[in-house]
């Protein structure tokens, strides 16, 4: 389809990697995965693209670091783990990116970046400057000082907001799911990946939330909502498996992998004031 071919021209790309893609079950970092991701993104950057990485995993990594096996419920504990894990993560990212001669920058954002105009403007300018300096910004939510009413949902929404902030061409969400399925693939043998979505209809949203379906961890819901933000802002969005980060190349070659949410034909400004 022509839509996939358009992905070949995308130059400013936000990649979001989920917790399950960058770490093992207990939250311990999957170094091989990060190494590969760093290699792929560095290559992209070197070839002239502007690349931003939205990472998750701070809380899980923090928990593993101190030997905690259960995900904490208490806000203060989550925030503490995020503070530990983020330091660990950024250290690892730096290491692998530098092995590819690529420098990175750490940017921690809060939800206010959406609601407060000054913060919004500030974030845009900083990110734009970092891109201009040929750096790869590694972005996460500033979980440590965030307030609890705000839930970004494993950073899917954050990645869409970042895509809007920098007026990206494309958002690629890497996760433990291959894409949006027509039914629960674990129970329905006829379930297939829906490769192209032109419009997110209520029916589709219901499918994603899989009322009653056990494969929906809530993860797909936030991804669909992120895709919706993108579509409305004129940003293409692809949800694909993070198992092998080289899939990013396939997406950019226009190959039919994952689910492609086609950018809406909107002329609206990338202003997101909720």
């Amino acid at each position: 389809m022509k839509f996939r071919e358009n992905l070949r021209t995308k130059k400013r790309i936000v990649i979001k990697i989920g917790t399950s893609s960058l770490s093992f079950a207990g939250g311990r970092i999957n170094f091989h995965r990060i190494e590969k991701l760093a290699r792929v993104l560095s290559l992209l950057r070197k070839n002239g693209s502007q690349v931003l990485l939205v990472t998750s995993g701070a809380i899980a990594v923090g928990a593993a670091r101190i030997g905690m096996t259960e995900r904490p419920r208490e806000l203060a504990r989550k925030q503490a783990l995020a503070a530990i894990g983020q330091a660990e993560l950024i250290k690892i990212y730096q290491k692998f990116f530098e092995e590819n001669n690529q420098l990175v920058a750490q940017v921690l954002l809060t939800k206010d970046v959406v609601t407060i105009p000054e913060l919004n403007r500030n974030a845009r300018r900083t990110l734009a400057r970092l891109l201009k300096m040929e750096l790869i910004p590694i972005i996460n939510e500033n979980d440590t000082i965030a307030t609890n009413e705000i839930e970004f949902g494993d950073n899917d929404t954050l990645s869409a907001i970042v895509a809007c902030l920098v007026e990206a061409d494309l958002l690629i969400i890497l996760s433990d799911i291959d894409g949006l399925y027509s039914a629960d693939p674990r129970t329905d043998p006829s379930a297939e990946i829906i490769h192209t979505v032109k419009e997110i209809t209520p029916k589709l949203e219901k499918l994603a939330s899989g009322a009653g379906s056990s494969f929906s961890t809530g993860g797909m819901v936030t991804k669909i909502s992120a895709a919706k933000i993108c579509q409305q802002a004129g940003v293409d969005c692809v949800i694909a498996s993070g198992y092998d980060p080289a899939i990013i190349f396939e997406v950019l070659e226009g190959k039919k992998v994952g689910t492609h949410f086609i950018a809406g034909q909107t002329s609206s400004v990338f202003n997101l004031f909720i």
Binding site: G62, R65, I66, E74, L75, A76, R77, Q79, A80, A83, I84, Q86, A87, E88, I90, K91, Y93, Q94, L103, V104, A105, Q106, V107, L108, L109, V113, E118, L119, N122, A123, R125, T126, R129, L130, M133, L135, P137, I138, N142, T144, I145, A146, T147, N148
Partner: protein, 230 residues
Amino acid sequence: MEKNKKRIRIVVRIEVATLINRDGKINRRKMDRLAMVLSDLNNSGKQIIVVSSGAIVLGSEKLKLPSIPPSKIDMQALAAVGQAELIRSYQRSFDEYGQIVAQVLVTSDIVDYPQRVENTRNTFDMLLSMNIIPIVNENDAVSTTDIELEDNYPLALKIANITGADIIVIKSQENGNYGIVTGNEKPVIQVENEISLQEKIDALFGRNASSAVFPATVVFPATMNEIYSL
């Protein structure tokens, strides 16, 4: 009685110049000694919070710039680069002593948001109760207020107030005068190096003291002159 003893909580404010060489690179040896002393203090039962600076200087070195560009937006970009480098350095050094650290980035206007202050206090309490040393810095990369290049003392003060610290330690290059910020109710100790930091804390609280039962003879100074007479 015993059970109401609160652990001594110390904010250690690090000036960038004391850790970074003239060439803009981190002085590994100094960083290492600092990590050792702070880990020791932590192990002896004190709760330690580090307020650091240096992200922008490190960022500038990382990108091989001849000097720090004056525009705020450039400084913000450098802060984003340098902070990653800074926290990595702290981690490496503290790792040697098996001490886990955490990164806390706050914006200086945090005091304007009561909810955030409350959450931050809880986060610090949690980290400290886990024997983790938080390394705090300004979130310059996203700050909308003016960027303080050299002076992170105001931040140290805010953190000390938010976390209910007992004392602030300034590790400073200069032996001389350091202006007291008015409104500071926290006792402040100035130290020239890590060894005197350890000595002074021990002198103040006793080597194995973990709780803040201050000896009756200690007077908490309010002015620099009084601090020097300690």
